[in-house]
């Protein structure tokens, strides 16, 4: 400041009685102060404003894509007949949003017994924004950290224990081979073949649709990771016989045996008994 004023002192001194001089000086001071503060301002303040932006971004996406069923404040909507058009989303947490939107289940194209998995509509950044917005409405399970579901280092012992947990908790619906199964009234438990480890974790954590919840307090992150390791081990298992027929057990195998196997036997029996060519003498 002093340098500046020394250089310009000649011209400035001539105008220092000018009526606007005070205003200029004040503006100059503010500008310098603001600039200096901006350069040394603490980071958290900046970060929080960014999250606020993401939440705002998520709210905008929500109002466009989700509010028609879930309500403009995510409070849920009931139809006149008392059915749920879209359940309230306050307190479902970021994990539920990440699961539903990243697997393409949400936004749903139509109502029905069960919302199917499809190609995701939103980009990962948009999903993050939506999740941040829903998480800001009430406390709920957060998106799991990568080390929670990273099964790449699972030992054989852990995979075996995962199998035990899997058979106790999951096979009733998802089948011993994770190939899914039917539920009443048109609902179903989906196949887990090729499903991302993160989504398997989030499904256990949040209990989407008919699935019950397996919270971290009763089934720890470690247990969940072992279950995922087991499911992935099933995925990677070779099928030496060739046709696994969907790994659905006696239903598909029995159907194959009855239709193809017995069908071929019938064809053979007809061929054996058919009258061969005759000639007149």
């Amino acid at each position: 400041m002093r340098l500046l004023s020394a250089r310009l002192s000649g011209r400035l001194s001539a105008k220092r009685r000018h009526p606007l001089a005070g205003v200029v000086l004040l503006l100059l001071g503010l500008l310098v102060t603001g600039g200096v503060y901006a350069s040394v301002a603490p980071q958290p303040a900046k970060a929080s404003s960014a999250t606020q932006e993401v939440i705002e971004e998520g709210r905008k996406l929500f109002l466009v894509g989700c509010a028609s069923c879930h309500g403009s404040n995510a409070q849920g909507i009931e139809t006149a007949s008392g059915n749920v058009l879209g359940p309230p989303l306050i307190g479902v947490g970021a994990a539920a949003v990440d699961f539903q939107v990243s697997t393409g289940r949400m936004p749903a194209t139509q109502t029905g017994p069960q919302i199917p998995r499809k190609d995701p509509v939103y980009t990962p950044e948009q999903v993050e924004a939506l999740a941040a917005y829903i998480a800001s409405l009430g406390p709920g399970p957060a998106i799991p950290a990568e080390e929670d579901y990273d099964y790449s280092e699972a030992t054989e012992e852990e995979v075996v224990r995962g199998g035990e947990l899997w058979r106790t908790n999951c096979t009733a619906c998802h089948n011993f081979n994770a190939s899914g199964g039917a539920l009443p009234n048109g609902k179903y438990a989906p196949s887990l073949e090729g499903v991302d480890a993160k989504f398997i974790y989030e499904a256990m954590l949040t209990g989407p649709q008919q699935m019950p919840v397996f919270p971290d307090d009763t089934l720890h992150a470690e247990d969940k990771r072992q279950i995922i390791a087991y499911v992935k081990a099933i995925d990677d298992r070779p099928s030496p016989g060739g046709f696994s027929l969907g790994s659905l057990g006696p239903v598909s195998e029995g159907l194959f045996a009855w239709v193809v196997g017995i069908g071929l036997l019938v064809v053979a029996a007809v061929w054996i008994a058919v009258q061969s060519v005759r000639v007149k003498k």
Binding site: K187, V213, T218, S276
Partner: protein, 372 residues
């Protein structure tokens, strides 16, 4: 046999008459079956191989080729068994399995096809008729048998000597007693075992496999826990008396009976029977995991409807409504385990089940007492 009836009308001409216009008329024609007697065998016509030497030799070569290829395939099987490495893949299948199946299956199939071809083309194919014989023996044999029996009975004098007859009957009857005594000793009767499980007042409900005890606040709305009593889970902390430490078959039998599922739902959805109002803790309810139909383990739980479905025969139980059967072959509602919270805040059983778990059995008795 066919000559006798050769003047009969042709079947095509008769078929029009057979259609019954009235009931009575239909019976009349059906009763008059004599008119439709056996038309006999059609005239035998030779095959090309019967009249043409060339065709016969061709058929012979065909059959021999099929058998020859079958032989080669059997050799191929032996070669493939040793030559193909175990891990090799072919079209995504294991090359080993694929080749073994193809060669062995092919060999069997070609032998079969060759045999049929042989029979159809080359073996004698004149149709023959064999009449059935009556099932009973001849009149002479029957008379002789009856006479022999009567003579034997007369010689033994069993009709004249009631003392011998009655004492023999008594001896034969007494032979049954050793059998009854020995079979009765095959094993102890189950007594009350089917009617009770190992659950006792104060036993903690722990997560199966991990042995983790559960606080009510651990269970979010919609949570499902597959659980066991703490003394039956290896990893659970339990310092009870030693005689409770079961092993082997007894441990498995007790685990199978004591398995439970614990769910949390909105307390407003629960409609307990009279006397069961305090069996749950803030909407946390605990039921036997064993289906009351034939004893399958059930944990197919729909959190939005509170229905529990048995995967074996689709029996469906409403857990919000005291485990009542709402669908399927199960005849009894699912037994409920009364819950409470201990001093340290963990979920415990208030008592054993108030009724036998699992499928019905003879001594189980009638309708359970719902009011408890």
């Amino acid at each position: 046999m066919s000559d006798e009836h050769s003047e009969l009308p042709q079947p095509q001409q008769r078929s029009g008459d057979v259609q019954p216009r009235h009931r009575e008329e239909g019976y009349e024609i059906a009763g008059n079956l004599e008119a439709m007697d056996n038309p006999g065998l059609p005239e035998h016509e030779p095959r090309p191989t019967d009249v043409d030497q060339g065709a016969e030799r061709r058929a012979e070569r065909q059959v021999a080729t099929l058998f020859g290829v079958a032989t080669l395939l059997s050799f191929g099987f032996c070669v493939a068994y040793f030559a193909i490495p175990k891990g090799a893949l072919f079209l995504g299948f294991s090359a080993h399995n694929f080749t073994l199946g193809l060669t062995l299956g092919g060999a069997l199939l070609l032998i079969g096809i060759g045999a049929i071809q042989w029979a159809k083309k080359l073996m004698d194919d004149h149709e023959i008729t064999e009449d059935r014989h009556p099932a009973s023996s001849s009149a002479d044999d029957r008379e002789a048998t009856v006479a022999a029996f009567a003579k034997g009975a007369g010689d033994s004098g069993i009709g004249r000597r009631p003392l011998i007859r009655n004492s023999l009957l008594g001896a034969m009857g007494a032979l049954g007693l050793p059998a009854i005594v020995a079979l009765r000793d095959l094993g102890p009767l189950p007594e009350g075992k089917p009617s009770e499980t190992i659950w006792r007042k104060g036993m903690r409900v722990v997560v199966d496999v991990t042995g983790e005890p559960i606080r009510p606040e651990d269970m979010e709305l919609g949570t499902l826990v597959n659980a066991e009593p703490d003394i039956l889970v290896e990893n659970a902390e339990f310092d009870g008396p030693d005689e409770e430490n079961l092993e082997g078959h007894e441990l498995l039998a007790e685990k199978a009976k004591a398995a439970v599922i614990m769910v949390r739902m909105d307390p407003r959805d629960v409609t307990p029977y009279e006397g069961r109002e305090n069996w749950g803790v803030d909407g946390i309810l605990c039921y036997s995991k064993i289906c009351t139909h034939v004893g399958c383990p059930i944990s197919l739980y729909e959190q939005t409807t509170h229905h529990l479905l048995c995967p074996c025969h689709q029996s469906t139980f409403d857990l919000a409504d005291n485990g009542e059967v709402i669908f399927g072959p199960a005849a009894r509602s699912l037994p409920q385990l009364p819950l409470a919270v201990d001093d340290e805040g963990y979920l415990i059983a208030m008592s054993d089940f108030r009724e036998p778990v699992g499928p019905s059995f003879w001594e189980r008795g009638g309708e359970e007492d719902r009011s408890v």
